[in-house]
Symmetry: D3
């Protein structure tokens, strides 16, 4: 179910349990995704990835929903089945409605199309858009 | 400056000028991006792409700024230099501050990382995330 | 101009010259692209890549033009500036007109869009399309 | 079977049925792919995507088979399982033989390889290939 | 199980069997992966791909394990499920431990993140890094 | 030269200077790459990214050179010009010879080719490679 297996809470060492506890407390759930259980065989990456994600995804100038929409847009562009499934769920939990989902998909589709048109036609960057 | 050259307003036929006029009216500007000038040698694609983009990017459930942020997130993920430059400008025009930009980049970077961790570790989709 | 520099004919050893000679004879030109000059510091890869390409791109069931169109479509999708520039030229030499180019770009753009819609909406493969 | 489910003809509103009817008439089939049924919860995107696709994929300078080959080449490069499955079927319906399929795959594989060699060796674009 | 089916040894012609024999001899196994069986319907590509792979993956300046790690890193970045599964196995056979696997994944994740940060922030290449 | 400009040491606040100091001490250099100067307008991401990178890239089971080779392989696959340029330099500093570079490129090219062949032919994962 994952290259190194899924590490359940009961079988985990305390350093892993601490991360699991923080995930559940932060997300107000008693469920740990397979993603974290798959990473947990490498406690250093588990901790670093979770802490980075927690910092990055917490509401700042951009609210939590907007961040989830961006996360999903990237996952769809990369066509990662796991991340599309899990972040569709996460975005919904953060407030994404079906109507928002379809607008998101339209933008993602359009951007993927025009990215190739711009590159394919070898369009030079406008002077005013240069950094 | 583009495979088929850039078609300026003065040199364009009326069907192209109509699209240019609509772009300028919609965006409240007198400037046409190189992207559109590069597409204009194919008036059918120019018209279809512009009308689709106009429909997709207008405020709906998601406001115009959120849509620009998503567009930029996709362009960064695809690493399209033209689209990154032009949509950074477009997002700023729609209200993106520097503080929002750095939060956006953090989310995009993080999602690109975890997409590969999920795929690389062959993580099975959780039962509850399945459609 | 390339990581290991560009190896000119005059400076090349005989094994490299043989490949250069074959490229020029096959393509009926006296010009060697930078791509080959950049690879030539690794004569084994140069020879293998050229011979593979020669075999793959020669007319078979699919004619040379169709193969060049496919090559360009892939290069646009991957957004490789060098390959877009060089294979736009190669496709033109093989007979691609401007009208074909704009149709090619439309298909490439559309496919990149619908690839993300299919993945993003997690569409299950139809029974009849399964292998 | 898709994020928003698959919308069957019987359950669809008239605006969706009209698109379904046009798909079936254009393709001379009584079958609607899951892709369209998954999009149909967003009738605006359904209509826009279908009409764009219909316009883009109809025979022009490039015949319908060549367009399907290009579509498949993009889908393989993006590694979209749904689109590979459905467009392999579509290309076959348009006349692609097994012998054409293997030539297509060879070109796609080769282009993906040389795209990275060109980028990896940082090859500068030849003066004569510049736009 | 593959677009053109899987060609078993018993059903294969002598030119295909020769490649199968060489694969088994080189890898010291009596097992042929589905990948080769799927390619075998195109004996020319089968032979070319196998001989290229054999040449590329044999120990040189870089040992066989390092080459397998690089292969896996690319496959994870491209998110190819088949290649991730088969090259995780191949890398393990070449000596990759679980501890190496987790370090590999960390590097791959990190590189995918910083690739987007560098592109997204439109960072100009440092003078000293130019070729 | 970067979306938010490049932040020089002299103009930086102490929290940024601390990161710059650590980069220079760790890498035994007095040079700060443009990448870090571009990130520095977001001190939180700068610190997190540098500390993650430092942890990930330090020698473990995999030595520093192997990690740099993997990093470069990913950057080439993603075709990130900045990262290819900077990590070619970093890999050389870690001991990569020209002979290693050409072997690396061969493996990267080959993997990108076979990833598409495996996906394109819809090859099912072998029972023995499943997790």
């Amino acid at each position: 179910m994952a290259t190194l297996g899924l590490l359940e809470y009961e079988a985990a060492r305390s350093e892993v349990r601490k991360v699991y506890d923080d995930i559940m407390a932060t997300r107000q759930t008693d469920y740990i995704n397979n993603f974290w259980k798959a990473l947990a065989h490498d406690p250093v990456t588990l901790k670093r990835t979770w802490e980075s994600l927690k910092q990055v995804m917490s509401a700042g100038c951009l609210d939590a929903l907007t961040k989830e929409l961006i996360y999903l847009a990237v996952s769809v562009t990369n066509q990662c089945p796991y991340c599309i499934a899990s972040h569709t769920a996460a975005a919904r939990k953060a407030g994404m409605t079906n109507a928002m989902l379809v607008e998101l998909m339209s933008v993602v589709g359009m951007a993927n199309e025009t990215n190739r048109l711009a590159s394919g036609y070898q369009v030079e960057i406008d002077e005013r858009f240069r950094t």
